[in-house]
């Protein structure tokens, strides 16, 4: 690891906005927040994956991956982060290095690749991602990007987050650091208003941001930049002129919020668009901070009235599902971040939360879960697929909400399952989204297919067993 990357990682592990981090001794803080991975029992993405996820939604730049085919070839265009305009971010670009590049270095190929993409696609900027192999052979992407920026007169941004540097979450932060180092503050907006905000850590999955934006528009609040969902390079470059920052996903890019506060004095708060209460709180916080920053005070009253109308409508729409959903048991397996923010809304529809994962949740998140659900809720750090399967098969839950990787645990146990992670197709943001989520839960549970698949075969329940399975049981 280059000295600069090392210093950078140490830097992101000093997080003034995190209580746990600040509670550590200097020595412990240097070790970072990353749990040591267990070989042979690890799952999840790498730092490169994290950096790419964090920045890929910036829609009008070329995202060029410098490395062998696996890093981009196996992962491009795999998330439904929506753009209202440019589609260039969905094009996969990679240097696809070969054996000779490993031996002689891939810097020349990278430089030529940058020239090619500028010639062919003319983006406002190119983001160049480092990977394990090119980092290991010593390709200096920062130097290549510096030279290319001088030569071609366009910002060529190095994203130095090779996979082996750490897990996905570290990559989110390193990607964010690149924005702070090379992008934010390099341009001035055409004009500013007292209602300008940035939304940080929002990826506009399946267009979710667009469920929220009309609310802000109605209040006259302008989104100066979103980082990164439906983002544009020039907007993000001039994001430092916003009056308020909202941090959406509490862990992924907090360093942008804290450093923008240090550098430009922009206050920030952490909020969520998932769930009715959270949506309303977020609107209130935005209004409060904007007024503190000098916006006219009538914003507060207007916000409250909007919230009142929207909340009443949302609860009324959820109410109609109550009769069908009351008492149904939900198992939440979300990686933890979003758990508490949707629990309240699910409870409003009469659903009972029987368990939730807290793997990625902070202490604060855990407190909130306890507050919402009482002490007897089953919080688990890391449920094995086998435990999950057993829980579903023994019908201790009626539906599981989780990401794509665990869906088959539910489906093989012949249990309803709803995708609430990044590969999903339904948007669940704001007052609109939570109603959609409850409707999808109802749709999943009410589907008659569950009765069908649970009818045992007439010739005995073992009809579909393949011989191999019994062999394993005996092993």
């Amino acid at each position: 690891m280059s000295a600069s990357l090392k210093a950078r990682i140490a830097d992101v592990f000093d997080e003034p906005g995190c209580d746990i981090n600040q509670g550590k001794s200097d020595k412990d803080r240097k070790k970072g927040c990353t749990k040591q991975l267990l070989p042979g029992a690890a799952a999840g993405g790498c730092a490169f994956d994290g950096a790419k996820i964090a920045l890929q939604p910036i829609a009008d730049v070329v995202h060029l991956v410098h490395g062998p085919i696996a890093c981009e070839g196996n992962s491009w265009d795999n998330r439904h982060s929506a753009s209202s305009g440019s589609q260039i971010y969905r094009t996969g670009f990679t240097t696809d290095i070969n054996e000779l590049d490993v031996i002689y270095g891939g810097e020349k190929r990278l430089f030529k690749s940058i020239r090619e993409v500028l010639d062919k696609y003319d983006p406002p900027a190119v983001f160049v991602y480092q990977t394990c192999v090119t980092a290991l052979v010593g390709d200096d992407i920062e130097a290549v990007c510096k030279r290319a920026t001088e030569k071609f007169g366009k910002p060529i941004i190095p994203i130095n987050a090779p996979g082996f540097a750490g897990p996905k979450n570290l990559g989110n932060k390193l990607g964010a650091e690149a924005l702070l180092d090379y992008v934010i503050g390099t341009l001035e907006p055409e004009f500013t208003t007292s209602y300008d905000i940035n939304i940080i850590g929002e990826y506009n999955l399946v267009g979710e941001l667009w469920q929220v934006k009309p609310l802000l528009d109605a209040l006259g609040i302008r989104i100066l930049a979103t980082i990164a969902g439906d983002g544009r390079y020039n907007d993000i470059a001039s994001a430092h002129r916003a009056k308020v920052n909202m941090m959406v996903c509490s862990k992924s890019m907090i360093n942008i919020a804290t450093k923008m506060q240090q550098r430009w004095g922009i206050p920030y708060f952490e909020g969520s668009f998932y769930g009715i209460g959270d949506m309303s709180d977020s609107l209130r916080q935005i209004a409060k901070l904007l007024v503190q920053q000098g916006a006219p005070t009538d914003l507060l009253g207007r916000t409250e009235r909007l919230i009142e109308v929207e909340e009443a409508r949302a609860y009324k729409r959820i109410e109609q599902f109550k009769e069908r959903l009351t008492g149904k048991r939900v198992l939440l397996y979300t990686g933890g971040v979003k758990s508490w923010s949707i629990v309240a809304a699910l409870q409003e529809a009469g659903l009972v939360i029987v368990g939730t994962s807290v793997k990625k949740s902070t202490q604060n998140d855990r407190e909130k879960i306890k507050e919402l659900m009482g002490d007897d809720v089953h919080m688990f750090d890391n449920m094995t697929p086998r435990e999950m399967y057993a829980m579903l098969r023994d019908a201790r839950a009626d539906i599981m909400l989780s990401g794509g990787r665990t869906q088959f645990v539910a489906l093989k146990a012949r249990m309803p399952w709803l995708d609430i992670n990044q590969e999903r197709y339904h948007p669940y943001g704001g007052y609109e989204g939570i109603v959609a989520l409850v409707r999808e839960i109802d749709r999943a549970i009410a589907n008659p297919v569950w009765q069908q698949v649970r009818i045992p075969a007439p010739w005995g329940d073992d009809g579909e067993t393949l011989g191999a399975v019994s062999a394993a049981v005996s092993a």
């Binding site: 070989p39 029992a41 940058i114 082996f164 086998r386 645990v409 191999a468």
Partner: protein, 472 residues
């Protein structure tokens, strides 16, 4: 026939190629009670896992040695040993199958050497077979990784045995679906022969519901079957990519081999059935005689929609050959062919040239074609060009039922022909008013008759409804 041209670009845009370790993983997923492991950073595994899940819609057992920066530089022995012990303790697989990645190959980890040491240090692994294949990301592609993995399985586990005259070994190509493998097994068994399929994803990735949760693969070639491959009377391979493993079987146990460059199409299947009749000494069953006749009829019915269409196709070498040849058999012209790596298969392709490139090359070459053929990542290009897309190969993540799509045997060939034809039928061009405007000379000529008539004629609406009626 086709000449191979290297795309001279420095930057691959919209990659076609998938990495070697992913291909190796697919091969390992066809072994029963197996846990595949990628020796690399956890991202290598995570990306591959997500793609596999999206394609097969199945839980995919796949582990990682979770290399970090320090272990990458100092060497991955400790991680590899820890991974093997952890997997043995947690999932108790019969086989742990390891492939390397770009990261550990660049460092130069001597995994073969590591495994010798692990065996000495960890007697608790004595009941677990370990297969290793070297698959750097920066060499070759998916098909190559699969090919080398199958060879590694053979070289590690097959031992010479007395020959059983009625047993044959089938080596499927990486692009065959679980349903394809089932089809071939059925054909072979109808001749009274028993068959060992290596690897057999029809047992593990066919989308069945097992009675219990298992951490390893849910089926596939068992360890006993792999070992028994040494007794087969013959090895049949599908695709040039199986030659390496067939040769390894020949070296180990002297098994004669025959490689079918494809099993999609009429004549290649005639050849397969003749070969099986020869080995078994039995006539071709009535069932397949009838299927052959059905295929002929299907080809006749479909040729209207496939004749003379221009096809832009991008796929790995053996799949390109299989689908490209069938389309050509059906009257299509391969106007743009893109592939991933060099292969002897390209020499057989009925096309002028094959570009070793990416989906940008396909998109550029597809401007005047009628049909795009590639994996799901071609969907953006198809949308931009507004052309139908036939999804083939890996990954196909925006369609379900991939495990049950067939393209081999008479009936599988028929399935693929129907799919192509129906796709073309959906895009039959509808003509509109004004599709056949008169030339200016004709108009001028018509106008010059008399001044009063020419004013009417200059409005095209007057004559063209009649033309449209006539064409309808």
């Amino acid at each position: 026939m086709a000449s191979v041209i290297d795309s001279k670009k420095a930057c691959a845009v919209n990659p076609l190629k998938m990495s070697q370790p992913l291909g190796a993983t697919l091969a390992f997923l066809g072994l029963d009670a197996c846990m595949p492991v990628m020796h690399g950073s956890q991202g290598c595994t995570s990306f591959g896992l997500v793609l596999m899940v999206r394609h097969f819609k199945e839980a995919i057992p796949l582990q990682t040695t979770a290399m970090n920066e320090v272990t990458s530089i100092l060497g991955g022995y400790d991680n590899l040993e820890a991974a093997l012990v952890n997997i043995r303790n947690r999932a108790a697989p019969k086989i742990i199958a390891i492939c390397s990645t770009g990261l550990t190959e660049t460092k130069g980890d001597d995994v073969d050497g590591y495994l010798v040491t692990v065996r000495k240090r960890k007697p608790e692994l004595a009941d677990t077979e370990i297969v290793y294949v070297s698959t750097p990301d920066y060499v070759g592609g998916f098909e190559d990784g699969y090919q080398h993995a199958v060879t590694a399985i053979v070289r590690t586990l097959v031992k010479p045995q007395p020959v059983k005259a009625d047993q044959i070994t089938l080596l499927p190509a990486s692009y065959l679906s679980p349903a394809d493998i089932d089809e071939l097994r059925e054909i072979i068994e109808t001749f009274g022969l028993s068959v060992i399929v290596l690897p057999d994803i029809s047992g593990s990735l066919d989308g069945h519901i097992p009675p219990d949760w298992r951490g390893t693969t849910l089926g596939g070639t068992t360890l006993a079957q792999i070992r028994a491959a040494g007794a087969s009377a013959c090895t049949l391979g599908v695709g040039e990519q199986t030659r390496e493993a067939a040769q390894a079987l020949q070296e180990i146990s002297g098994t004669p081999m025959e490689i079918f460059e494809r099993l999609t199409g009429l004549e290649v299947n005639d050849r397969l059935l003749q070969k099986l009749a020869h080995i078994s000494g039995k006539p071709v069953p009535a069932k397949y005689r009838r299927q052959r006749s059905q295929l002929l009829d299907a080809m006749l019915d479909s040729h209207f929609y496939t004749g003379c269409i221009k096809v832009a196709i991008a796929a790995e070498p053996d799949l390109l050959l299989a689908v490209g040849c069938l389309l050509t058999d059906m009257g299509a012209k391969l106007t743009c062919c893109v592939s991933t790596t060099k292969s002897t298969s390209h020499a057989l392709l009925p096309a002028g040239q094959v570009i070793l490139g990416d989906l940008e090359d396909l998109e550029h070459g597809a401007a005047d074609c009628d049909l795009l053929v590639t994996h799901s990542q071609g969907r953006q290009a198809a949308q931009r060009l507004n052309k139908p897309l036939l999804r083939i190969g890996f990954p196909v993540f925006d369609r379900i039922g991939n495990a049950h799509r067939r393209m081999v045997g008479y009936s599988g060939t028929m399935d693929l022909i129907f799919e192509v034809s129906n796709l073309m039928l959906d895009h039959v061009e509808h003509h509109h008013l004004g599709d056949w405007p008169l030339t200016s000379e004709a108009l001028q000529a018509a106008r010059s008759m008399t001044a009063s008539v020419s004013q009417n004629i200059s409005e095209p609406g007057l004559f063209e409804p009649r033309l449209a009626d006539a064409s309808a």
